[in-house]
Subunit: 439 residues, 2 copies
């Protein structure tokens, strides 16, 4: 496993306002307690994403299902949203050009225009729809299912050959339909919530169809789980990530946590992390206070030309976590002839060297402006390392939940919106607009 | 023009902590002064993005160039980054399925893997590369150009048939190469910076190749410019946007400004706005303070399942600006048969109705939690309306610059990173890592 966190730029005196050595010692002591609490809860079965061994049989079912079907489907379409989509999107992007299976589409919204366009383009005969909803009641996903199912029925096709479900093993609308119509269905364990489900069939079923090595992915996650099974902060990457981000927020006012990928293969890990960090930690704590960091996804070098100005000179309210790939397997040498005589400093360099130089320069520029950052470095962006990275961030989220004093597994704040939307659908009427406040 | 801002949910008492009517009167008075200052600077030629008439000839050149070439290129590739890419990406997405020209790729990063994959896939004989850099010195873009140019030369192709440049009319590396090799070149006016350049050939050249109606786009921008030419706040949408966001930040501690699109066609307007708002306002003000809001891009309904929990129950430090499309030209009716008997409340509804209901429910849920929002409503996401929307946001940024006391046109904070990157490239060496702070 070649994945490490370089957090020197979270520390004082290198970065003004960073953690001192004395503070780090305090964090180590605190972490031992936090880790102990999490370990006890894990033993009690609270964190299903850690229970990879008991989920091995379901992964074997995924492989047994997808293997023989390779080549049968030209297109695989995920109907899912939030935790049922962001993991699959991240894995699809991580594949990069190593993509070697069906075209993987993720229809994670209900805007009719792109859905209509997609349905029009697909050859239904060669399409599989993976309908993914933990609860089986997600309204956006059921609406998409209704459209797809109507198209399948209209064509007199067999539903079981064009649909696969991923849902909770308990009763729910998707489970009922699966039983009725003998549609293949895969389980999300009851103790694995949507945003922690990328290691279950929620992530592995669509990823396997696209040619992603889900076995290596799970092995990487297992390996990182072991590394993060120790109460010594200096040996636990998830602990370091959680403790330093929390400390920067609560001790130094840095509550905006940017995740900035410097490898395009990892770019969609950032939105996946945004859900994980935002939805797990942004809530009312035990003292009744509104708490939680605001995660922001960014991308290097692109956002050096967009958000970096704000990170450098705006309010001192941010940390930046870089995602870095150390090896560039497909590096490109720049042509001196093409650049001469106008651009001297690119002479004899490669594109990968430019990317690396910019990442280090950005970290150093931020540090010199008193803006802390850390780098999560992967030697290479393969399935194994991506599994490790995602496990690291999930475990860090659990630690952070203890630190912030919130339950990282629930999302009580979204229920009101769901109820209001249901009411608005059943009795659609628009509130009379207040014309004084319209321009 | 059917574009309006509904800002009732930025106002008290509807939203706790919103602006009171008395405050709004104060904002009106203040805005009259702000508008006057901006109008004077505009008259002095400071804001080139407003000078659409003097840029009409260059737009005519774009149309004269792209028109006869329709169909000749299967692929058009933008080599550009930041302000030279985000506008084109937003316009390409706004086209949706109305896409009727060349495939438009935007290579806005220097990760070698995706660039290598793209170059491998393209048929050079049928590809045009639009190299876009205001200064002509953007290192990422010149590096990409070196790769592409080497490929063109290796194939003994004529550079002038596969390259077009967009750059400043003054001297710069791209201008020199264009003159030397007779490559078609289009001007970005000297008084239009990258993030304000979407109305120039930076945006219109690639968009025109993809089949985007750039004339309607510019007409929409002109129309909104006229609407925003008045000092009366209640009639000026750009003024309302700027004054209320600034007030929420500086008077109510809401410095995180979420832009949440509820129309997939507008989803890439949000990252374009993020650059505009972040890079223009995130800087050191006249009093030497670090200031500026932090813009965040989000997407409905997707982010209801990701970030909404944080927006509802996390710290009260955010506003949300919704982008809403009122007409759904390709709406899809849900099949009752497919849903029965499991999902009753979707009965007889369309996907568009679901999307609308969720947007309104989200706004109402936020309001009831004391979280302010506004909605920018477009009747339809066509080129005309997108032009109006982008003009509104650019003008609002200029007003906000005055309010925050910063120069919205510069970006002094990114120079250090550029210098450090250049040094790191010329003498590539890695700083000895501090192994105490690596895990």
């Amino acid at each position: 496993m070649a994945l490490r966190i370089d957090f020197a730029r979270m520390m004082a005196p290198r970065v003004t306002g960073g953690a001192t050595e004395a503070e780090f010692r305090t964090l180590r002591t605190r972490f031992a307690t936090v880790h102990e609490a999490v370990t006890a809860d894990a033993a009690a079965g609270r964190y299903g994403f850690l229970e990879l061994e008991s989920q091995a049989a379901e992964h074997a079912r995924v492989l047994a299902f997808t293997g023989p079907l390779r080549g049968r489907y030209a297109d695989v379409v995920v109907l899912g949203i939030g935790g049922s989509a962001l993991g699959a999107i991240a894995l699809r992007t991580a594949l990069g050009d190593a993509f070697a299976g069906a075209n993987l589409h993720v229809a994670d919204n209900v805007d009719p225009a792109p859905i209509a366009a997609l349905l029009k383009r697909l050859d239904l005969a060669r399409t599989l729809f993976c309908v993914i909803s933990k609860s089986g009641t997600t309204v956006e996903t059921l609406a998409q299912y209704a459209l797809v199912r109507a198209a399948i029925d209209r064509d007199h096709r067999q539903p079981m050959r064009h649909l696969a479900f991923v849902t909770d093993p308990a009763v729910g609308p998707l489970r009922e339909i699966a039983v009725r119509d003998r549609i293949p269905v895969f389980d999300v364990p009851p103790n694995v919530g949507g945003r922690f489900s990328v290691l279950t069939p929620v992530g592995t079923l669509p990823a396997a169809f696209a040619g992603f090595d889900t076995s290596a992915f799970l092995a990487g996650a297992r390996e990182m789980r072991e590394r993060c099974a120790v109460g010594e902060l200096k040996a636990n990457p998830a602990g370091v990530f959680a403790m330093l981000q929390w400390r920067a927020h609560t001790q130094a006012g840095r509550g905006i946590h940017v995740m900035m990928s410097y490898a395009d293969a990892l770019r969609d890990v950032a939105p996946w992390f945004v859900q994980l960090w935002a939805e797990s930690l942004g809530k009312i704590n035990a003292e009744g206070q509104h708490t939680g960091p605001t995660p922001v996804a960014a991308r290097g070098t692109t956002d050096q030309h967009s958000q970096l100005q704000l990170y450098m000179e705006g309010p001192a309210d941010k940390t930046v976590a870089f995602l870095v790939e150390r090896e560039h397997r497909a590096d490109l040498k720049l042509s001196d002839a093409a650049l001469a005589p106008v651009v001297e400093h690119l002479r004899s360099r490669t594109l990968g060297e430019l990317l690396d130089a910019e990442q280090r320069a950005t970290a150093d520029a931020l540090a010199s402006a008193g803006r802390p950052s850390l780098a999560i470095e992967l030697d290479v962006c393969d399935a194994h390392h991506v599994g490790a990275l995602m496990m690291l961030l999930m475990k860090a989220t659990i630690y952070a939940g203890v630190l912030y004093g919130v339950n990282p597994l629930d999302q009580p704040g979204v229920e009101l919106g769901k109820r209001l939307a249901r009411e608005a659908l059943v009795t659609p009427k628009r509130t009379a607009a207040d014309s004084r406040w319209i321009v």
